[in-house]
Symmetry: C2
Subunit: 204 residues, 2 copies
């Protein structure tokens, strides 16, 4: 997006992201969880957060609950609102990662283009970005239906519901895919933390 | 703001802000710098950031440059855009502070109501909020005019410019007031860091 105001100069901080990473003793990265409602994104992100914090790694989860009530409280679930929602979250994740934090985002983020935009944003800032597809089949998600949303969507009480009357565009080349049907959040969190170790983002 | 969607449940993280504060060995807080263009807000915030980082305190500055190019790139300087700009920044500062970071925001933030809203938001989250008025007289700001903006505003090339054709509402009870006319950013940063020590937010 081209800034609406041209009276801006990009200022350089005396303190760099590298300084913050040295202080924290780990790299900063955004872990972008995407998947259907009820797929287990938030539970997984919380499990990863807990494991990382046990090891002294600063992690933070942005999720539909804390962001939708605040930063994006003015947005609904219509297509254009979903686009703006993901754009803002992508920008905030970038700021957090620039702040040195291992940042996890847990949003359905159904559209490929929006996720690709967020990835490009991180690439521009030379910030690592990992797309994690929580690939739980819709049948499982609908069976779980923790918030009763699928039931409402099937009854026509909820419109623009991903997987029912709004598309979910499957990631084409995510860094990781997790099927949370037969994997517990704890097992999946182990896989993820090992991935962060192997890629050198955190210490083994 | 009442969330537009009612299909939300506020989820509790297993990891709390207190856990992150223990990890980082300091409290989280938002330092909200407010003052005219050219008053020295950003320079001061950067000086405080550098001093804090030297002491192993994780700090991050949100400023007009990094936020206006990203999260708020869709907003201009008209009154309604300024309101939305400050609302979003307030929400992001709250998320950062919840993440355990000592968060500094450097925006003119000219309207009292908007600043009070951000304070209320932090109060709701039981997050410490310090309003710091960088009270440099407009004559000094205009003489400095580091970006040539006052000159443009006086020539009528810039509309809605704070202090010229848009009001700056002076804080009524800021936690700190700094006049950056005769105080160097380094001196002011010492005052601020001492304040954080005295109030127990960081270790002496």
């Amino acid at each position: 997006m081209i800034p609406k105001s041209q009276n801006l100069t990009q200022s350089e901080s005396q303190v760099s992201r590298a300084d913050r990473e040295r202080l924290l003793r780990h790299r900063a990265v955004t872990l972008w969880f995407t998947g259907l409602s009820g797929s287990g994104k938030s539970t997984l992100a919380r499990a990863v957060e807990a494991r990382l914090m046990e090891r002294g790694v600063l992690a933070y989860v942005l999720d539909g609950d804390n962001v939708r009530h605040g930063l994006c409280a003015d947005l609904g679930f219509a297509p254009e609102d979903r686009v703006e929602n993901i754009r803002r979250i992508g920008e905030v994740a970038k700021l957090f990662a620039d702040g040195g934090v291992i940042t996890m985002t847990s949003f359905i983020s159904p559209y490929r283009k929006d996720r690709d935009n967020v990835r490009a944003l991180h690439d521009q800032g030379q910030l690592p970005f990992l797309e994690i597809h929580v690939n739980t089949p819709i049948e499982t998600c609908e069976q779980r239906d923790p918030k009763g949303l699928y039931k409402k969507a099937r009854a026509g009480e909820l419109k623009n519901f991903t997987g029912i009357d709004d598309p979910y565009e499957v990631p084409l080349s995510p860094e990781l895919t997790i099927d949370a049907t037969n994997t517990t959040p704890q097992q999946a969190a182990v896989i993820l933390v090992e991935y962060l170790e192997k890629t050198g983002l955190i210490r083994a």
